[in-house]
Amino acid sequence: MSATGAALTQVTQEQSRRRVAYYYDSNIGNYYYGQGHVMKPHRIRMTHHLLLNYGIYRDLEVYRPFPASFDEMTRFHSEEYMTFLKTATPDNLKLYNKQMLKFNVGEDCPLFDGLYEFCQLSSGGSLAAAVKLNKQKADIAINWMGGLHHAKKSEASGFCYTNDIVLGILELLKYHKRVLYVDIDVHHGDGVEEAFYTTDRVMTVSFHKYGEFFPGTGDLKDVGAGKGRYYSLNVPLRDGVTDESYQSIFKPVMTRVMDRFQPSAVVLQCGADSLNGDRLGPFNLTLRGHGECVKFFRSYNIPLMMVGGGGYTPRNVARCWTYETALAVDKDIPDELPYNDYFEYFGPNYRLHIDPSNATNDNSSDYLKKLQENVVQNLEKLTFAPSVQMHPTPDDAILCLNDTSLNQDMANPDVRLHPSIMDGVTQDPGEFYDGETEGDDRRNEHNAKRAAEGGGDDAAKRARNDN
């Protein structure tokens, strides 16, 4: 009895365990957008210190990612724009007046010291995270340096310069037929939506405040275009949304999306500006409501990439992302914050969780119900799991492609493969054709040997000949 119990627990533990890779570069905290700017990369360092001092760090596979290269970033961004980011600095800014206007760099998105490095780090983390998931070396990959979802192909926007999410998804698309992007930032994830607006391989779902709010896009009616029609989903919400009302629409909608779209990888943008007390966001979520979204995707056992994003009350951002990292590794952490380098920032209560405010929730249950109906209607129009009958499922494809011998079989026989591949190839002793080694008459030798060993060989030979 007790043995069965133990076995059962073990099974559940096995199921709930996830290999979590975490990407962080300490330099990220040393960039400063400028005086009075609400975006503070320092919040990522605060998160990191909480992870260390909570002892969550030891459960993570920690990487310091290599910065993304120019070429990698131009997989999405235009070369002209990236060249501008690379060359313009606060010192020579006068030379770039024209470009600054064109690329929307200046006000919301200032040109600060080390801007290009900053972009490289944030994009490098998401790229490395995507590669890790592609290689199936981790179940969850986290990059709090990323999540800059407003950046456009040739334009900075909303504190974002390079769109690490788009770069990461493009990388995931090399191995995954369909990728789902979910955005729980208080702002609409317009950069990612725009990038994948016309494709059916990426579905973008964004829950955001809509109406007189940055960036102004994200209407319920925007559903994608061309082939990507109905592959963009927007859930516009109003001020003061609480944990309960948020989850009352998040869960049913996302369950349906997962059923219908059947993604093989998910990217979750965990913008923390949807929390209560954010300097820009008018929502009223707590860590629990926000983290519920992480739990939701964790429960599906498919590769999950978690990235950061907005969040303009640094102490709450650090709290939120620490909590969500703990959820990813499934570790219970106490409410009392451990002492850390930035402990004073968490006063006056020095606790992990934040309380909701009693702000009015402008999202009535009627409104949410109607919204859900509309969203589901859009979802119904989606072609069920596109192209699924035509192609092998993504999982099979990966297994197939990872098997190097199959890869060789499929290779063009007229092209000599690289020595690094062929060096490892030895001829199977059971091969019955005249190969390059013809002349030493290994075939007969071999047959004689097998015959001496006994039966079964003839049958095998016949089977091969049949083929």
């Binding site: 905290g29 001092n53 010291d113 990038a195 109003r238 920032y345």
Partner: protein, 421 residues
């Protein structure tokens, strides 16, 4: 869309975006004027920009053509004239007024804790739903005294709030199907990065705790106290353990440990602790330039990189040295608070309850077209403007967490921010 404000059917949502925050769309005639205004003193740059505008004329013609074919509803949507929302007017307004008063009082108590002000302002603006935020991340959070004069200023054409479709200009290139993974594709993959730690199942937590604790204590020159062992991690110690194939003994031989995640890009070589002179120079620079680290670095602490200064700043801000500086400022500010109290009480008498025009200096009301001129709202926003004028730079552009320096326990004096993050 806030129901309290968007319910006025005859009141299109045309914001007066903060003049110098609005980045106009390039192919925009109005924007041209607007740019000229902003860079009046720099004629050459302006010419360049004009040329840039002219180059984009083709697009504009196309756009206009496209617009001619649109139906009126689409056009309205394109230019941000949303459909009117259902009305739930009255209760909303009165509660806003009440809360605004409450906030006003709070604000007077801690007038210089700028973070608080920013927060309140944020709540406040979101409550009365000023119709401007859509074009700018900050919304109204950053006030501009300059724009107060621009009552007649026509806002530049509103940015299109639509996802743009053009595979070359806006969309990512997505291959139709999964690419065959060839050796060249593998090579083009982003490298995994430097592994700093990987968890291992057979390594018990206790031994890990002891290992980390021992080396942390040794680094700080403290005796190892067996009773205080906790589960806090030290990335350098764990990195050493990983490098020594999880053998605690082998790792111990490498003490002092290599920094696992050092500032490689934002500092030159190893980040050494600040010397007393550097600290003093930083503080002098900070007093005059506030958080303009660029200037501070150039003129006060040239021995440090920009990144080091920022790192130091975040430690220093919570140290007793900063508190001291802050207190000196605070004393000066107490006097200013009194002056402001007086000014405000006179203003309260002056403002007519039903008129919004008296408050033409108030950006908030101006932009918000507050429906019935909610009087307390007007006063509130004016107070705010006053505060901005009197604001002492040290009180902060308020972009830091509102740590209540008075309520918080005295923070330990951090003089050596050598952390490796």
């Amino acid at each position: 869309m806030d129901p309290r404000d968007s319910d006025l059917p005859d009141h299109p949502e045309d914001p007066y975006p903060p003049a110098d925050q609005q980045v106009p769309p390039p192919a925009d005639e109005d924007a041209e004027d607007f740019v000229e205004d902003e860079h009046e003193e720099d004629d050459e740059a302006t010419l360049d920009e004009e040329e840039a505008m002219l180059e984009d004329d083709d697009d504009e013609l196309d756009d206009l053509e496209a617009e001619a074919d649109m139906d009126i509803e689409e056009l309205r949507k394109k230019y941000g004239y949303g459909a009117p929302a259902p009305s739930e007017d009255e209760p909303g307004i009165s509660s806003v007024a009440d809360e605004a008063e409450e906030e006003e009082e709070e604000e007077l108590e801690v007038p210089f804790n700028n973070e608080v002000i920013m927060q309140q302002q944020h709540q406040f603006t979101s409550k009365i739903a000023i119709e401007s935020a859509a074009n700018n991340y900050f919304g109204v959070a950053e006030n501009n005294e300059a724009e107060e004069e621009d009552v007649d200023y026509e806002p530049p054409e509103k940015k299109e709030f639509q996802i743009r479709v053009d595979p070359l200009l806006y969309q990512a290139a997505v291959p139709e199907s999964i690419e065959g993974v060839t050796p060249s594709a593998e090579a083009a993959e982003h490298p995994a990065g430097t592994l700093l730690w990987a968890p291992r199942e057979d390594l018990p937590d206790e031994s890990l705790n002891r290992f980390v604790h021992e080396w942390k204590a040794r680094r700080h020159g403290v005796e190892t106290d067996e009773t205080k062992i906790d589960s806090r991690d030290d990335e350098d110690a764990l990195y050493a353990l990983l490098s020594s194939a999880y053998s605690t003994d082998a790792a111990a031989a490498h003490f002092p440990f290599e920094k696992a995640n050092e500032f490689k890009r934002t500092c030159d070589g190893e980040s050494k602790p600040f010397t007393t002179e550097e600290m003093a120079a930083f503080e002098t620079g900070f007093k005059d330039n506030y958080k303009n680290f660029r200037v501070i670095r150039e003129h006060f602490v040239p021995s440090r990189t920009h990144g080091e200064l920022i790192n130091y700043y975040y430690h220093w801000k919570m140290s007793s040295r900063f508190n001291e500086l802050f207190r000196q400022r605070q004393m000066r500010k107490d006097f200013m608070t009194e002056v402001m109290d007086q000014m405000e009480s006179t203003k309260r008498r002056r403002v007519e309850p039903s008129s919004t025009t008296t408050s033409s200096s108030s950006t908030v009301v101006e932009r918000g077209h507050s429906p019935d001129g909610a009087p307390s709202t007007v006063i509130h926003s004016e107070n705010y403007d006053d505060e901005v004028e009197y604001e002492d730079p040290l009180a902060g552009a308020g972009d830091e967490p509102p740590v209540d320096v008075w309520a918080a326990p005295p923070p330990p004096q951090i003089e050596q921010p050598t952390e490796s993050a």
